[in-house]
Symmetry: C2
Subunit: 338 residues, 2 copies
């Protein structure tokens, strides 16, 4: 229970009968130290349970903390979890620590998280911007040389590195797939807010495919919802139309899940569906889900790699990387229009 002071380098030094500096040398493998001294220091370290104070070290060394800040919109969303996993594995291989914070899609929370990270003097930032985020305030940091990479969604009001999926192209391919199977009325179940970058891009891909096929765009075939249940309701609205769609395109993982659930509730196995984002249970659904798969871990890893190259001194101009998507054909997209 004794809330005692944590031992410092000086405590270790006193125990051994040397100076803190000598202990520092031992711990950092720096400069010449007599073998015997080294051993006695190590023994004292173990005995006292000494652990270096990284805050003090970083402050003295002046440098930034060997820490990388990651801001994501929702920890609970498996897509972002997987992205974070991809970032983490690359970052760890480099001996850096990852600090993760969740902005809950709130621009204000995002700013305050970023401020916290900056106050901690992180070495770099990876940001999945919140829907209404705005990043002019980071201009000074970028000028000062702090590596900042945006992930999944580009920065707003700031030129910076960015890694995104091939949203528009993937979406276009998915919708074209439905059109190729004869569908002419294709519903779009999108994310909210509709201004969200990925939602806009994927919607554009949807329009692209319609245009390429010479199909008219029908505004009433577009519905939105941010979470699974809202997406299910959005899907139900589409199914209830006077002239309902014969096929659906879902704009993200939650929308896909919601659409599948809504179709199931309505007992409609005849409606074709292609989802952006693959789902773990895709192949077990009836019909199995055809999906535009994005590689979340790869996106995260690419962003992390980009950050590391910046840390290594790469000063070239801001780069945008696009990670390709892959259409996985399983059945739900191949249903013919009834």
């Amino acid at each position: 229970m004794g809330r005692m002071r944590r031992p410092t380098m000086t405590d270790v030094a006193r125990e051994v009968g040397v100076t803190a500096k000598t202990v520092s040398r031992v711990l950092n493998d720096e400069g010449p130290v007599a073998m015997e001294t080294r051993e006695r220091v190590m023994a004292a370290v173990r005995k006292l349970g000494y652990q270096p104070n990284l805050m003090a070290r970083n402050m003295r060394v002046g440098a930034r903390d060997a820490t990388l800040g990651l801001v994501i919109p929702e920890l609970g969303n498996p897509f972002f979890g997987t992205v974070a996993g991809g970032v983490e594995s690359v970052v760890r291989a480099r001996g850096l620590t990852l600090i993760v914070g969740s902005s809950e899609e709130s621009a204000a929370l995002e700013q305050s998280l970023i401020a916290t990270f900056l106050a901690r003097r992180v070495s770099a930032l990876i940001i999945v911007p919140a829907a209404a985020g705005e990043h002019r305030h980071l201009r000074a940091e970028r000028m000062a040389g702090l590596p900042i990479v945006f992930l999944d969604r580009p920065a707003v009001g700031l030129t910076a590195d960015c890694v995104v999926s091939a949203n528009r192209e993937g979406s276009r391919a998915g919708v074209a797939h439905l059109i190729a199977h004869g569908h002419r009325r294709i519903g779009f179940v999108g994310d909210l807010p509709a201004t969200l970058y990925t939602r806009r891009e994927r919607f554009q891909g949807y329009r692209d495919a319609l245009d390429a096929a010479g199909l008219p765009f029908d505004r009433s075939l577009v519905e939105n919802g941010h979470d699974q249940e809202a997406a299910a309701r959005a899907t139900a609205r589409l199914l209830a139309l006077a002239e309902p769609p014969t096929a659906l395109f879902a704009g993200n993982n939650l929308a896909s899940t919601g659409a599948v659930v809504a179709l199931s509730r309505a007992g409609r196995k005849d409606v074709a569906l292609v989802g952006f984002d693959d789902l773990p249970l895709a192949e077990a659904l009836d019909p199995p889900l055809t999906a535009v798969a994005q590689d979340a871990a790869a996106v995260g890893a690419a962003a992390a790699a980009l950050v590391l190259s910046r840390l290594d001194g790469d000063r070239s101009k801001a780069r945008r990387m696009t990670v390709p998507t892959r259409l996985i054909i399983r059945g739900s997209g191949e249903l013919l229009p009834q």
Copy 2:
């Protein structure tokens, strides 16, 4: 491009023509400061883009960093993602920052992550132990008053706070449900390694249910696999037995997913299934999945709340909290034995 020095409090002070201490007072709303001075300081802060250095502050204040370390086994697993989300929301409400690290189920990595967190002087630790983790090394920290809460799985070799789901009881209820529908040969698809706490508990619940019903335990009905694909293979092995089970109990979310996939691949809609952990698509499956749902966010939130109470000085002895599970009946568990 100019990698210039970041402004310090002293820079701000010089700009205004006061002392660093005065700036400090303004920024911390402490002591009396003339209105005019306050405004000039704030103006200088904005002009220079000053941001306080938390590392320096924490060091001086001696106290620990206003940061909480969370160690989870896998960032990509939605269960842990949701847990982390639950922790984060409670922690944020308190103005603390969450540092998340992933141990990849490696005891060594877990130890090194914990060491990093300790070196950063986090205010508290929440740990989801890796499968083979061992925590004697944290005894000194606990004695020194550092709040440490274990989550989902208890500590090994250390008496400490712990928040877990009602694994054994939930599992027993799930299996009892299958037995109530007439099943006598019930397969168990478990996690790996089999020594994993949750796997052991849930397996015990399975045995409990069998025993209570006077059913024999058949070792050949137990198969394991850690990820979704391995679980699918494990399930396939069970289905291929000479005397195959008429029902399955899956011991976690990945096992459930894998079991569903394997049943689907085998075209076996006649095999009953109850999964531990609910799945987002549960209701859309055919048959809909009956599941023992655990509230991952609540588990995370409970652990965070426990940590906060410790930070607030609660010195009572180590507590173990059990979060109840809920059996959600949907159909897959109600299939009758063929």
